[in-house]
Amino acid sequence: MTQVSTLSPAVASLVAASATDVVKLFGSGDTAVRALDRVSIDLLRGEFTAIMGPSGSGKSTLMHCLAGLDTVTSGSVAIGDVELCGLSDKKMTALRRDRIGFVFQSFNLVPTLTALENITLPIAIAGRKPAQPWLDNIIATLGLTDRLHHRPSELSGGQQQRVAVGRALAGRPEIIFGDEPTGNLDSRSSGEVMGILRRSVDDLGQTVVMVTHDARAASFADRVLFLADGHIVDELRAPTAETVLDRMKGLER
């Protein structure tokens, strides 16, 4: 278990996101469900983390809370040095826009915009111009150079998800969150998308956190956190598909 409660300032700057004693309740009173129960984690910069766990373990909730999509009942969540608790909606939205990238399970591209327009959407929403060399670099990495002016409906699932990854990378966020990014893809496309995420960590120093239940996808990560019943119950470094599956079997038993 990774419980780094007293970080020196030097170490703190290495932390891209952190959760401390996070509790998340759904509902209230007798029917309240404790989705997260005093979870504390630090996600380090330049690291690729996968969060795994059986259905209902709280893995998605943890990611939503870390990404500022959902609020916590108690405890604190920080992105870099910014504490998320108590941020206004406006500031929270700006934070998501400027410092976080998202990749969703069902791609969630704007159907009326072209691939390129989708990639640059968060930058355009912020009213900024994309840095061209960076953008070219990403597009080359995604392998979408000849698909840039196509609409999502004209792209395959794998291509759509690559566009979504491009959208997450384009704004050079401090951290990218993935919510089952390979959930809707076949194994070949999964491999491509995970490869791109892996390379973004290795080549660009990107920080990536994703929720997945796909052991093969998790094997691309540096570190796998296992959740069960709202607790972090295990952790694996330098995972392979086999070791991940073994641990998962242990959890579900």
């Binding site: 999509l69 939205t93 826009r97 998202f102 969703f104 159907p111 009326t112």
Partner: protein, 842 residues
């Protein structure tokens, strides 16, 4: 309840808010239809009651056959009295008058008649006499009885002095000796009854009376009585039975009322047509959003028919609720309209609202029928959902193929409309031209409706690029969203298109009317002052004599209406006293001459139509008057002010009984170097004693005419505002449903950093674009057709085309504002979407 029925009911409950707007749009349409029926039925019943009262006891009526006939000879009264079966003969003689109260102020009747008449003593009366609230009946000259409405308005009571203004007699001093009560009080009506000798002196030529009402002796039927009387009558007179006379009176009112009825019904139908688009859109969207559910129903064994019926059941429920509410709304509308007109003193009879079974049936059938019809296409689409769609992830909501068919059909219909339009514009007859234009407009509008999904892409994309630019990414999203579902955008915008088509078309015709009249006045009127009247009484000829004596007057010209038979054919022309050229620029095409003696001037149009030429002679005659033989000496270019032909004032007086002689207008030319201001004051003082005369210079005269047109336009704009209201409801509905549909997408935008403000703005700009698209299409068609319509009527006095561009831009801006306002609520709803919605399963 069947399982499918239950699904329908549950759905209605689940989508209460979105269906509410649909109900409202059905309601607005039916309310106008029901309201128009209730309103006119109510008025008709009130008037029927009045005539039943007024014509009570009449078993036969003797009246002239034609309006130009001089009336019923007085010596006929004794002859008819002697006819077997006749009990009494009541003489009618009357004319419009103006009552002036003791302080010298006119008593305004509003829109109701203001009449002078004759008091009939009980012995000669066919019906029951009115009762007196105060005083007694008039017995000698100078005494009058007035109705209680007039007494209240003029603060008059028995014993007060008052004045009555009549065309020929001028101003008559009277004493009010009695105030009588009418059985049915008509708002604003003014009745002034004189004693028999004075009434005969004032309202007749001394030889004829207006009409005779006859009561039968006991046991004599109406028909026998009428047959007996018919033998004694000359050919210019006719006899009607009491029943026929009442039907005649009621028929006249019915014709007048049907005009109001048509206008209100017209707006009702426009509202329903506009509502159709909203209903169609709502059901299309609800079906689209429920595709998975419908597919599931199909997968578990529901038949196509059942699915279709379940959608139609929903539509039926909405239709019935909407039209029932509309019926209630219609009663409210009729009540409101009645109260409004009452408050404006337009002379409506009082009486409870009348609702006939027809009103109920028409409103319910129409409202429900329109709803079912509009929901039919979406229902059919729902039935075509394959069961396998339940398993699919994404749905394509439109298919390009069906849009292609629609586009081809739209092009054909629009082209046909355009062909008919061209035929209308090039037609030489104004009537045919206008009808063809109307038909062409229907075709082009229907074609435009079918083409509008395609047009939406063409117009919104460039428009959105311009309007959306300052909004950056928000603008781009708004633009692409606006054309995302072209069918939906088209149906939403078309409500606004229809409204603005009518409004701008009317605006063009109205502006052209004003410009044409202003043009005629500027180019042809030379008079410095125009003395006219705005009351029901024409100007007493003595007013012209008084005016001519005012210092500074160069010349005075009086115009009269001459109603006569020209070579045996009924026609109305103008009689002229005084110099013509001094007051009007007459453009002589052939010949010349003046309107003196027996020379006649005719307009070129009249000359052409009747094959009249210079030198040809024509007999002007009125039964009972000496005929005049006129010789055409000149043919002038058509002129709205002068009418079809001109004769001298002497000829007018030969043909018109003295009691009817009056001026319709007096035109004054100032003497050279006269002080116009002093002249005006002088004219006002000189004519003040005649009460009915208003003094206007050319600009005021133009302003008065423009004011009348503006009043009419205002009424039409107000009623067409309804179409705009429905259009707003449609935009709200479409956007609200779109927001629901795009929940995931909006959630994603929020997740990747779109601020609430930006989400709202996206919806506002999208709505703005849809509204402006609808407005541009409507304004384009409206201005085009308004202009062509004006052109078609160029020979009817609409010779100047004036397109009110400022007004058009105003309409466009208003449409934009309307669009943004309509988006307020959907925008706020969209902005409330939580980012997590992006992840939540649909």
């Amino acid at each position: 309840m069947s399982a499918m029925g239950m699904v329908s009911v549950r759905n209605l409950k689940a989508h209460r808010v979105r269906l509410l707007l649909t109900v409202v749009s059905v309601m607005l349409g039916t309310a106008f239809v029901a309201g128009s029926f209730v309103f006119t039925d109510t008025l008709k019943s009130s008037f029927d009651k009045i005539f039943t009262t007024v014509d009570a006891g009449v078993d036969a009526r003797v009246q002239p056959k034609h309006s130009y006939d001089p009336g019923v000879p007085q010596d006929l009264v004794t002859k008819i009295q002697a006819v077997p079966g006749v009990r009494t003969v009541e003489v009618h003689a009357g004319a419009p008058i103006v009552l002036v109260d003791s302080r010298g102020k006119k008593v305004q009747p509003g829109g109701a008649p203001s009449e002078g008449g004759m008091w009939t003593p009980a012995a000669q009366s066919v019906g029951t006499l009115p009762t007196f609230a105060a005083g007694r009946a008039p017995t000698r000259a100078g005494e009058v009885a007035i109705n209680s409405g007039a007494a209240t308005k003029g603060h008059l009571t028995a014993g007060d002095r008052a004045k009555v203004v009549l065309p020929n007699a001028g101003v008559v001093d009277v004493t009010v000796v009695g105030v009588y009560k009418t059985k049915v009080e008509t708002g604003g009506y003014i009745g002034v009854l004189f004693s028999r000798p004075q009434a005969l002196e004032l309202f007749t030529d001394g030889k004829h009376v207006g009409s005779l009402d006859i009561a039968a002796a006991a046991g004599v039927s109406e028909k026998t009585l009428a047959a007996n009387i018919a033998h004694t009558l000359p050919s210019t007179l006719e006899v009607r039975t009491g029943t026929q006379a009442r039907t005649d009176d009621q028929g006249g009112i019915q014709t007048a009322l049907s005009f109001i009825n048509y206008i209100l019904l017209g707006f009702g139908f426009i509202a329903l047509i506009v509502g159709t688009f909203i209903i169609y859109n709502t059901f299309s969207m609800i079906v689209a959003q429920r595709l998975r559910e419908l597919a599931l129903l199909r997968a578990i064994g529901a038949g196509r028919k059942q699915v279709r019926r379940s959608v139609l059941v929903e539509a039926g429920v909405i239709g019935v609720i909407g039209s029932a509410l509309g019926l209630a709304g219609g009663i409210g509308l009729a009540f409101g309209l009645h109260s409004l007109l009452d408050a404006l003193n337009l002379g409506l009879p009082s009486g409870g609202l009348v609702m006939t079974p027809r009103t109920v049936i028409v409103a319910l059938v129409l409202g429900t029928g329109v709803t079912l019809l509009s929901a039919n296409a979406p229902a059919r689409r729902a039935a075509q959902v394959p069961p396998v769609a339940a398993m699919r992830e994404e749905f394509a909501s439109t298919s390009a193929a069906s849009l292609r068919r629609r586009t081809v059909l739209g092009t054909v219909v629009a082209a046909l409309g355009a062909v008919v339009t061209v035929a209308g514009v090039t037609s030489s007859s104004a009537g045919t031209g206008a009808s063809l234009l109307g038909l062409g407009l229907v075709g082009v509008a229907a074609g435009a409706m079918m083409l509008s999904p395609v047009l939406a892409g063409w117009i919104i994309t460039p428009l959105g690029t311009v309007i959306g630019r300052p909004f950056g990414a928000v603008g781009r999203l708004a633009r692409t969203n606006a054309v995302r579902n072209p069918r939906r955008t088209a149906a939403t915008a078309f409500a606004l298109t229809l409204g603005l088509l009518l409004v701008s078309g009317i605006a063009v015709v109205g502006a052209s009317m004003k410009a044409s009249i202003s043009g005629i006045v500027d180019s042809t009127v030379r008079a410095d002052y125009i003395l006219g009247t705005q009351s029901s009484v024409d100007i007493p000829p003595r007013a012209a004599i008084a005016a001519s004596k005012v210092p500074g007057v160069g010349s005075t010209t009086e115009l009269h209406n001459v109603a006569t038979l020209v070579d045996g054919k009924h026609g109305v022309g103008t009689g002229v006293d005084g110099p013509l050229n001094a007051i009007v620029k007459v453009d002589m095409k052939h010949g010349g001459g003046t309107t003196t003696g027996h020379s006649m001037l005719v307009s070129s149009d009249t000359a052409k139509k009747n094959h009249w030429t210079i030198g040809s002679q024509h007999t002007l005659s009125v039964p009972g008057r000496t005929p005049a033989v006129e010789t055409i000496t000149g043919i002038y270019a058509d002129n709205q002010l002068l009418g079809p032909w001109l004769v001298s004032g002497d000829v007018y007086r030969t043909l018109t009984p003295p009691n009817e002689q009056a001026d319709i207008v007096i035109l004054i030319r100032a003497a050279p170097g006269a002080d116009l201001h002093a002249l005006r004051t002088g004219l006002e003082q000189a004519t003040n004693n005649f009460y009915v005369v208003t003094v206007q210079n050319r600009d005021e005269f133009k302003g008065q005419v423009a004011g009348q047109i503006n009043g009419l336009l205002g009424l039409l704009y107000g009623l067409l505002g309804l179409a705009i209201v429905i259009a707003i409801l449609g935009i709200i509905n479409t956007l609200a449903l779109s927001v629901v549909e795009r929940r995931r997408e909006i959630g994603m935008l929020r997740a990747v950093g779109m601020q609430r403000k930006q989400v709202r703005r996206t919806i506002y700009v999208e709505s703005l674009l849809i509204a402006v698209f609808g407005a541009v299409l409507g304004l384009g068609l409206g201005i085009a057709y308004g202009s062509m319509f004006t052109r078609t009527l160029r020979n009817q006095g609409l010779d100047t085309l004036s397109v009110p561009w400022t007004q058009a831009v105003t309409f466009l801006v208003v449409a934009g504002i309307v669009g943004v306002l309509a988006a307020l609520w959907p925008g706020i709803r969209a902005a409330r979407t939580r980012p997590l919605e992006a992840i939540a399963a649909s």
